[in-house]
């Protein structure tokens, strides 16, 4: 088990290095930050001097080595756009993104499992069919449109909920939370619905098909033969067996919710990491982009590791070292 985790960690570090390298080598296609950093009156010479101060004139391998060297020490440099240390910017933005992502994942999982079970038990019911049809919309509509649609209905027309921002936040140490104020909670509703909607429909459809599968299994038939009440069969026996693949998917999806909240954050002007990244791309703010991509890679590496470990815990058959090596 320990050897397995160590091996996964080593693989994770390698993945991080590769991601950093690919990300870094792509930055030259994003454009020249200097063009955005100086006023239009700057002379060619001023531009050249700034390029040198930023180290953009160094050869690419050297820039990469310097970047990795500093990154290992937790120093991601200074944002070209905001003139502040990138690590500070990321730390300030992290709570907003995590809070949004966690609540979205919670919403998607709870509602997704609930609706999925319902749709499986009442598979021919009118409501179940309606839910399945609506879920198609969730899978196929882009997040952007869902967000704008919700803003239009709940902010512009009904005026119940704010259309942008995080509302009032409360600082607990370096962490800021919107969960403790009324405006913070209100601000969370629309982004959480938007971000969680796709995952919700995904989980719901997964639960439904898994549940239908399990309900056909022999042990359910035997349970029925023993006269166990239908409710108990559905929730004690069938649901539990349904959840194993759902946990895997939900875990991996949490990674992508954290990493790709970009669109939702942009639509709602949510002050998280995603909107920080979008602004950085527009400005060719290389230090911020590099740090963000390394962060996303780290999230995925950790999520994968956790899912792997959960497998081992959940499924005794995987505990033999040999099976894992495969």
């Amino acid at each position: 088990m320990i050897a397995y985790i160590l091996r996964s960690l080593a693989q994770g570090v390698l993945v991080l290095l590769v991601v950093a390298f690919i990300a870094f080598s792509m930055f030259r296609f994003v454009g020249d930050p200097v063009a955005n950093m100086v006023g239009q009156e700057a002379s060619l010479q001023d531009r050249q001097e700034l390029r040198e101060r930023l180290g953009l004139e160094r050869p690419f391998p050297m820039q990469f080595v310097i970047f990795i060297g500093n990154a290992v020490q937790g120093d991601f440099g200074i944002s070209y756009r905001q003139a502040r240390p990138v690590s500070d910017l990321m730390r300030e933005r992290l709570p907003a993104t995590l809070e949004l992502a966690m609540l979205s994942a919670l919403f998607a999982t709870v509602a997704g499992v609930g609706l999925g079970v319902y749709a499986a038990i009442r598979r021919d019911g009118f409501l179940a069919n309606t839910v399945m049809t609506v879920s198609l919309v969730g899978v196929s509509l882009p997040t952007f449109l869902i967000g704008i649609g919700l803003i239009y209905i709940f902010a512009v027309e009904l005026r119940w909920l704010p259309s942008f921002g995080r509302g009032q936040t409360v600082a607990i140490g370096w962490w800021t939370t919107g969960l403790l104020t009324e405006s913070g909670l209100k601000s969370l509703v629309l982004p959480v619905l938007t971000l969680g909607f796709f995952q919700l429909t995904l989980i719901m459809r997964l639960v439904r098909s898994e549940m239908l599968e399990v309900m056909r299994a022999d042990f359910i038939r035997f349970a029925r033969a023993r006269g166990i009440p239908e409710r108990t069969i559905e929730f004690r026996h069938a649901l539990r067996n349904t959840l194993i693949p759902v946990v895997t998917i939900a875990g991996l999806q949490l990674g992508s919710i954290i990493a790709f909240a970009i669109v939702t954050e942009t639509v709602f002007q949510w002050p998280g990491l995603g909107s920080l990244f979008v602004q950085a791309v527009q400005f060719a703010d290389v230090p911020v982009m590099a740090a963000y991509l390394v962060f996303v890679a780290t999230v995925f590496v950790i999520m994968n590791l956790l899912v792997d470990i959960t497998y081992v815990v959940l499924d005794p058959r995987l505990r033999g070292g040999r099976t894992l090596a495969k």
């Binding site: 100086v38 060619l44 509602a111 609706l115 038990i121 209100k186």
Partner: protein
């Protein structure tokens, strides 16, 4: 499952009890697309940064909402009678900074030196300024390397900082990225302006409170007691925030929403001309182009080809259809309020495809040629759509244009690099000095590697024009200077170095109870704004 449904229902039901917070009548909530990049007034020479800083810091001279030059911290200014290379500024007395320090000549000398120091982004604007001297506590002399008739025009965005505060907080010089850390001035401010910085969360919210000790508080309305400035990058969200009453004033209104907003009850839309003209430039000087299919010749070097292209463009069509009326067709690359602009110069040819084709044939390109056009897609109003319209127009006269649209971070380096990497491109230009010299020296003068011709990648190089442009910098006789400006315009217009398209219009949208006119510099100044009780 039923539990889940109940929860969901509860959430939705709970939502019905939420109501949008009502706005305090004295607070002005202001949203625009981007945030100020820094509060350090000399670290970035950029519009939104200056627009926000104008509320906290002040300049010696400034512009009112109509663009007229007015004294702010200076009460009077004149060329030094003993030294034609210098200007003398009389300073306003009885002004103090937000921390209580008095404003004196020392602060002006300090700020001018800071703004011209190597890590300042304002130094490009003040490349000829050699220093500032204190004459007495309320008189300052600013010296240039030669006569500098436009020095005051260049000072309208050069903010005055408190010397003592800057020394205390170790921000004597603007931030240098080599230092590897942020400076105190990036998030803190101490100016003489009508508003005091109360809270600053970059990219999220900036709160400013009225400075009750402001020197002009009795003369100007200074209506809003508090300004909350929020960047909202997504256009649809920005408009939704105004419609839902969460912001009071939206500065960057998307072109497609102007009409809808004007018809919305309770919403006011103000329109005005922006200080920015959009045009095409092309390589008129090289012997051969990299991106065309004509071997051994440069079709753009032929005046007839350029005239044909100028004639092919339907400016009014672009203004009506692409810009939905939010543009003023232009005949020269200057907005109307700039010194040197005249009605005659602004005349532009009617679109005439037959005549344009004839000119092309005369130039030997009856069968046309292909070329590549570079265009930004995130910088100007509908920039990519403008380029697409132009590609169609040029196609009609046989020029087969391959359009490359990309982000500004990729587009602008093509133009500013030496040698330039583009043969045909779209650019927009604003004139912060409100004087034609600014256009000439950056866009028409031969590129000299230093500060002249930085934005002239066209290889247009006319020694006579260059000499005239240089003479403007030191000509202190205004009438003679204006005559030279007129001569230069005539020459460069005849040479069709650029193909002017239009001057952009600006729209501000706000709730009906406030009235914020469009500012000529697109820097709305809330000290002029009244708030209804």
């Amino acid at each position: 499952m039923s539990a889940t449904r109940t929860t969901l229902a509860a959430v939705l039901l709970g939502a019905t009890f939420f109501t949008a917070a009502s706005a305090d009548a004295q607070t002005l909530r202001w949203a625009r697309v981007g945030d100020a990049l820094t509060m350090d007034p000399h670290a970035q020479n950029e519009g939104p940064t200056h627009a926000l800083n104008h509320h906290i810091y002040e300049t010696l001279v400034g512009r009112d909402q109509a663009g007229e030059m007015i004294g702010v911290l200076a009460t009077d200014w004149r060329i030094d009678p003993e030294n034609e290379n210098a200007w003398i500024f009389d300073l306003r007395e009885g002004v103090s900074f937000h921390n209580g320090n008095p404003f004196t000549a020392d602060d002006v000398v300090f700020s001018i030196e800071r703004a011209t120091s190597p890590t300042s982004d304002m130094k490009g604007l003040h490349s000829t300024v050699t220093g500032a001297e204190k004459i007495d506590d309320y008189t300052v002399r600013i010296v240039s390397s030669g006569p500098n008739p436009l020095l005051p025009n260049n000072l309208t965005n050069t903010f005055i900082m408190d010397e003592e505060w800057s020394v205390e907080n170790d921000v004597v010089e603007p931030q240098d990225f080599d230092a590897g850390q942020e400076t105190y001035a990036v998030r803190n401010a101490n100016g003489t302006g009508p508003y005091v910085l109360a809270a600053r969360e970059a990219e999220v919210r900036t709160v400013m409170r009225r400075n009750e000790d402001y020197w002009a508080i009795d003369e100007l309305p200074v209506g809003p007691a508090e300004i909350v400035y929020t960047p909202i990058s997504e256009a649809a969200t920005r408009v939704a925030a105004l419609l839902s009453g969460e912001v009071d004033f939206v500065q960057d209104v998307p072109v497609q929403d102007i009409e809808r907003l004007s018809n919305e009850p309770g919403i006011r839309v103000n329109l005005g001309v922006e200080n920015r003209t959009i045009f095409f430039g092309m390589d008129v000087g090289s012997d051969d182009l990299d991106t065309d299919d004509v071997e051994g010749a440069n079709p753009f070097a032929d005046l007839r080809v350029r005239e044909a292209m100028n004639m092919a463009i339907n400016r009014e069509g672009i203004a009506q259809v692409v810009m939905r009326g939010q543009a003023m067709p232009a005949g020269i690359i200057s907005p109307p309020f700039v010194n040197g602009w005249t009605e005659e110069l602004n005349a532009y040819p009617e679109p005439d495809i037959a005549a344009a084709r004839a000119l092309m044939a005369e130039a030997g390109y009856a069968d046309g040629f292909t070329a590549t056009m570079h265009c930004p897609n995130d910088r100007y109003l509908n920039d990519e759509a403008i380029c697409q319209a132009a590609v169609g127009a040029f196609g009609q006269i046989g020029i087969d244009v391959n359009l490359v649209s990309q982000s500004r971070s990729l587009h602008f380096p093509l133009i500013s690099q030496e040698p330039p990497q583009t043969d045909l491109y779209l650019l927009g230009w604003g004139v912060p000095t409100f004087d034609s010299e600014y256009i000439f020296s950056f866009l028409y003068h031969t590129r000299d590697g230093a500060s002249l011709g930085t934005w002239n990648p066209t290889e247009y190089s006319n020694p006579e024009v260059d000499a005239m442009i240089q003479s403007l910098a030191s000509e202190t006789d205004i009438a003679a200077r204006d005559a030279t400006i007129a001569k230069i315009w005539e020459q460069v217009k005849a040479d069709t170095v650029y193909i002017p398209l239009h001057t952009q219009m600006l729209a501000y949208a706000m709730r009906e109870s406030v009235d914020i006119p469009v500012d000529a510099e697109n820097q709305p100044k809330m000290k002029y704004i009244e708030m209804a009780e």
